[in-house]
């Protein structure tokens, strides 16, 4: 066994990896079992996992782990055999066992030993369940029947000859090893797991056991002498376990501590001979059942059999695939065709294929100018094969999203219990595949969303029934492909999110002002949940708990090039939707030209392309910000040339607007030309360039040139667009005029018109006259949570306004950090002032006049008006406040 000793670290590592995978599956299975208690399939699967861990831990001399799984296995065996039905307490005990197994594995991973994880409590609990009442008390009388049943099952699932040629274990070796002091206990424990197959261990040495493995077990039994116990392994085509020789590790802590239950029964019998029905690990060399060779130490035989030639890894898929016995030829194919490959190997392959794709692109370009048909044909062939290879390699990295979901059922069960909710979990599309690295990245966000949905989405049962909903809430996970992306949805049929609460919280936290909120659509308000700073402990209660850590979810998803949004209907439920690219390494992109250089724009951010022949006529301006009317909506524009500091584009040149969506912001990126759309291979950038914050990476073009990939969120940050889109929208809407211009024209009575530079105008609104309050003899209004002086323009200009009714029309103007509310008679228009027909002549608070739309309009001096409102207004106010406090 030197080889094994040498490779022991490797074996332990493999053991940990496969055990962790198996445990995830186990959690899911156990919870599923609770709802369909009779499922033999699930039970078999669970049994197999625990058995595998037990077997290997015994072999690796992890005594506590073995003892724990051993007890759990006993319980599972009873369940599987229908002697006990699954109930809540049983599930709890088993789940607790899984947790403890996990803790042990973690300790082994960290320290190489079992650490100080306590197993006795859980073992006790399992034992308590075991000792408790069960469906069918195994009377001695039933033993024979059960034993007879076992081989009978064997016949269905497993060809007799498999069993027949099974290796015979040298009983002498095993028997003394399982030393007698613990014999009785061993018998008791062994009885149950073995029950299906072992003729009642209670009866072990008894002769009546021998005939038990009836029909096709008979020939084997014949070979044994009268006192032998023939262990027929029930193999109903699904389940398998590994009756091999075993010892209590305590009794025989030496190397071959591969404990398995039926064997123990046999060992207790002292003269036992055990039939190992088949090589359980459907190892490549199936004809050489592992236990056959290492006769003195029977470590193999089980799915976890790590010794000798075959790497333990082959056993892992086996156990998971659920077709471990070679006899059951049904699912052998899947098992044999799966191998475990290091991700690093796949990563390297992926890189090389990327290079190949680039080389192919280069050759394709070279061939274009070459007429030789055979060269063209060869190039086409290369192109085809390279494409297929790329796809194939990408596929190897894909894993079904189930890998991440497998933890969810358990989590839902635990959370629902602790929150006092009744939750039914529905999952669909679990076979949707994603790149492995992406799966890893969505694990936490997904967990967070599920947690949130149960904690804060689904209401308590009493509340639900009171509102006419079924007491059990539905949480559904859906995954599907859409538009080259994978969409993952987490929806609940719970209370939904009250946008008013979200809005109120945003205002209270100072993230948005009341006015900003007023102008937002419900979906925009919901998106506030993703703002950093929205998530604090207090919002847990105030906003029906939503928004906790959602900015973290968003950051994580955006970090992998994905997006997240939310839909909610009060009373009906909430849906969180993650859109994730299929892979990170290769992405579809649009290549655009700007100032003679090529840049790549990720297709995932691109909504549409709009070509403009003459931007001078179709691009309008709000303040100084260029906008484009896209189907009636104003789209803020960002010129890539300006962002990159490139020279102005020659006049009259056509442009293309790439309409991009980054997070909540939609904007148009103005580029010179669109070149192509192709799949690009993303190359990392040197650290020095990351600080620029504008590039997501680089890629190589077909001609070998390097092109930078633009980072759309980075562009948004650069152009400080985050707020401006909203502002533009509200300004324009408030003006009730779709024209963009420089001057806001208002009437002040007596037929006089006054122009206010639009750049100084923050907002226009109507407010009831009674909001005006008087502070220190001056009129003020509350605006954006601050006290703002009110100036009645007709009074300032000495006109008699007719509109002194119940409603004030107010223009809020800002100079520096100060605002002033200017009450006017009415808002007339927003017009372009080209300044050609203006004069300097003006009165108090006027800078002059001009002709706008054929009417003379006086231009307001905002500075003077604000100063008039009181230069020390703010100072005084502050003093007053200090005095009060």
């Amino acid at each position: 066994m030197e080889g094994v000793v040498d490779g022991v670290d490797e074996i332990v590592r493999e053991f940990l990896v496969e055990s962790h995978e198996n445990l995830d599956q186990l959690d899911a299975d156990l919870v599923a079992l609770e709802s369909s208690p009779g499922s033999r399939e699930l039970l078999a699967s669970i049994f197999r996992v625990i058995h595998t861990i037990k077997g290997t831990s015994g072999f690796l001399a992890f005594a506590r782990l073995e003892r724990l799984t051993h007890t759990g296995e006993n319980l599972l065996a009873e369940l599987r055999d229908g002697k006990r039905t699954m109930d809540h307490a049983t599930t709890d005990a088993l789940l607790r066992m899984v947790d403890t197994v996990r803790a042990l594995l973690a300790a082994i991973e960290a320290t190489g030993g079992e650490g100080d994880v306590d197993v006795e409590a859980v073992v006790g609990e399992l034992q308590a369940v075991l000792d408790g009442p069960r469906a069918a008390e195994p009377a001695a009388a039933t033993d024979a029947g059960r034993a007879a049943e076992a081989p009978a099952r064997g016949t269905e699932g497993e060809p007799a000859e498999e069993s027949a040629q099974a290796p015979r274990e040298p009983a002498e070796d095993a028997a003394p090893a399982a030393a007698p002091p613990r014999k009785t206990r061993i018998k008791r424990i062994a009885a149950r797991p073995a029950a299906a197959a072992v003729p009642a261990p209670d009866a072990v040495p008894a002769p009546d056991a021998a005939p038990a493995p009836a029909p096709d077990g008979a020939d084997r039994a014949d070979g044994a002498d009268g006192a032998d116990v023939a262990v027929a392994v029930a193999s109903d085509g699904e389940e398998t376990w590994t009756p091999t020789f075993a010892f209590e590790p305590i009794a025989a802590p030496a190397k071959p501590a591969r404990a398995t239950k039926p064997a123990k029964a046999a060992a207790a019998a002292k003269t036992a001979e055990v039939e190992v029905p088949a090589p359980h690990a459907p190892a490549p060399e199936e004809s050489a059942p592992a236990p056959a060779e290492p006769a003195p130490e029977p470590p193999a035989a089980g799915p976890p059999s790590p010794p000798a030639e075959r790497p333990p890894s082959t056993a892992a898929p086996t156990a998971r695939e659920g077709a471990p016995e070679p006899g059951g030829a049904t699912s052998r194919g899947a098992v044999d065709s799966a191998i475990r490959v290091d991700v690093a190997v796949l990563d390297a392959l992926m890189r090389q294929v990327s290079e190949l794709v680039l080389a192919r692109n280069a050759i394709a370009r070279l061939v274009e100018g070459d007429g030789r048909p055979e060269l063209v044909r060869a190039a086409q062939r290369l192109s085809l094969v390279a494409g297929e290879l790329q796809e194939g390699v990408m596929k190897t990295r894909m894993q079904p999203i189930e890998h991440v979901w497998s933890k969810v059922p358990r989590m839902v069960r635990d959370l629902a219990a602790s929150c006092g909710r009744q939750v039914r979990l529905e999952m669909s599309g679990g076979d949707t595949e994603l790149d492995r690295s992406l799966l890893e990245a969505i694990k936490d966000p997904l967990t967070h969303l599920v947690r949130n949905a149960i904690d804060h989405g689904i209401e308590p049962p009493s509340f639900r029934t009171a509102n006419g909903k079924p007491a059990t809430g539905v949480l559904s996970l859906r995954a599907y492909h859409a538009g080259g992306q994978v969409v993952v949805e987490v929806s609940d049929d719970g209370a939904g999110i009250h946008t008013e609460h979200v809005a109120a919280t945003a205002v209270r936290k100072g993230l948005r002002t009341q006015e900003q909120i007023a102008a937002m659509s419900p979906s925009e308000i919901l998106r506030l949940l993703f703002l950093p700073g929205f998530s604090t402990a207090s919002s847990v209660t105030n906003v029906s708990g939503r928004g906790v850590g959602m900015d973290v979810v968003r950051t994580r998803i955006e970090g992998i090039g994905g997006t997240v949004d939310v839909e909610s209907e009060v009373g009906r439920g909430t849906t969180w939707r993650l859109r994730i690219p299929l892979t990170l390494a290769i992405m579809p992109a649009v290549l655009v030209a700007c100032d003679g250089q090529t840049y790549a724009l990720p297709q995932s951010s691109l909504l549409e392309l709009v070509a403009l022949d003459d931007p001078a006529t179709s691009v309008e301006h709000v303040h100084a910000a260029p906008v484009y009317r896209l189907r009636g909506d104003l789209l803020p524009l960002v010129d890539l040339r300006q962002v990159l500091g490139a020279p102005e584009r020659p006049a009259g040149a056509g442009v293309v607007i790439a309409v991009l969506q980054a997070d909540a912001t939609r904007f148009g990126l103005v580029v010179d030309r669109v070149l192509d759309s192709e799949e690009i291979v993303v190359k990392p950038l040197a650290a020095q360039l990351k600080s620029v914050g504008l590039y997501a990476g680089a890629t190589l073009l077909g001609d070998g040139a390097v092109a930078l990939i633009l980072d759309v969120p980075g562009l948004v940050r650069r152009a400080i667009l985050v707020e401006s889109e909203e502002e533009i929208r509200t300004d324009v809407a408030a003006a009730a005029a779709r024209t963009t211009s420089q001057v806001l024209v208002v009437s002040v009575g007596d037929g006089r018109r006054v122009g206010i530079p639009l750049a100084a105008v923050t907002r226009m609104e109507k407010m009831p006259a009674d909001v005006v309050e008087v502070v220190g003899g001056r009129e003020v209004v509350q605006y954006r949570g601050a006290i703002t002086p009110l100036v009645r323009l007709p009074r300032v200009l000495g006109t008699s306004s007719v509109a002194d009714g119940d409603e004030l029309t107010v223009v809020v103007a800002t100079r520096g950090e100060r605002s002033v509310a200017i009450a006017v008679e009415d808002i007339v228009d927003i017009v372009e002032d080209d300044g050609t027909r203006s004069s300097d002549h003006g009165g108090h608070a006027l800078v002059g006049s001009t002709v706008l739309k054929d009417r003379v309009t006086e231009l307001l001096d905002v500075q003077t008006v604000v100063a008039d409102a009181d230069p020390h207004f703010f100072d005084e106010l502050e003093d007053a406040l200090v005095g009060v406090s």
Partner: protein, 139 residues
């Protein structure tokens, strides 16, 4: 104690970097400019499928640009696992130097240079300036 330095010439002066961090020297490749990056960033090149950042040493050292029509050469170095290329006027030989011949830079050296030049090795008839690669590429 001796060590080997790969040498190159920038604006008439000979500079050296530890030969172990130099991957290769090659002729200038087409570069893709990177707008908004530091002034010394000369662009990105495609080095056999790898995207490599190029730093113009003349800019880092505060020297005037190469005259029109003169092609620079590239020295590809490895810094902290990343590959970077330095634009130089000309690539020289690998020179064996003795630590005993090393002297820190004179106080009269300009600040820009001082940051990048660790000192000088006194060779026969000329000085070999030891370039601090980490500083040079921290563009």
């Amino acid at each position: 104690m001796t060590k080997q330095l790969a040498t190159f010439v920038v604006d008439g002066a000979t500079y050296g970097v530890d030969v172990t961090c130099v991957q290769e020297a090659l002729r200038d490749l087409p570069r893709t400019p990177v707008p908004l990056a530091g002034p010394a960033v000369a662009g990105l090149v495609n080095l056999r499928g790898q995207v490599v950042l190029t730093v113009d040493l003349r800019v880092s050292l505060g020297l005037p640009p190469l005259p029109e029509g003169v092609e620079p050469m590239m020295v590809v170095v490895q810094v902290g696992g990343d590959h970077l290329s330095l634009l130089v006027d000309q690539v020289g030989d690998v020179v064996e130097v003795d630590e005993a011949d090393f002297e820190p830079p004179p106080g009269t050296l300009g600040a820009e240079m001082r940051r990048l030049v660790r000192g000088a090795y006194k060779l026969d008839g000329r000085l070999l300036l030891a370039l601090d690669v980490d500083q040079a590429v921290a563009a």
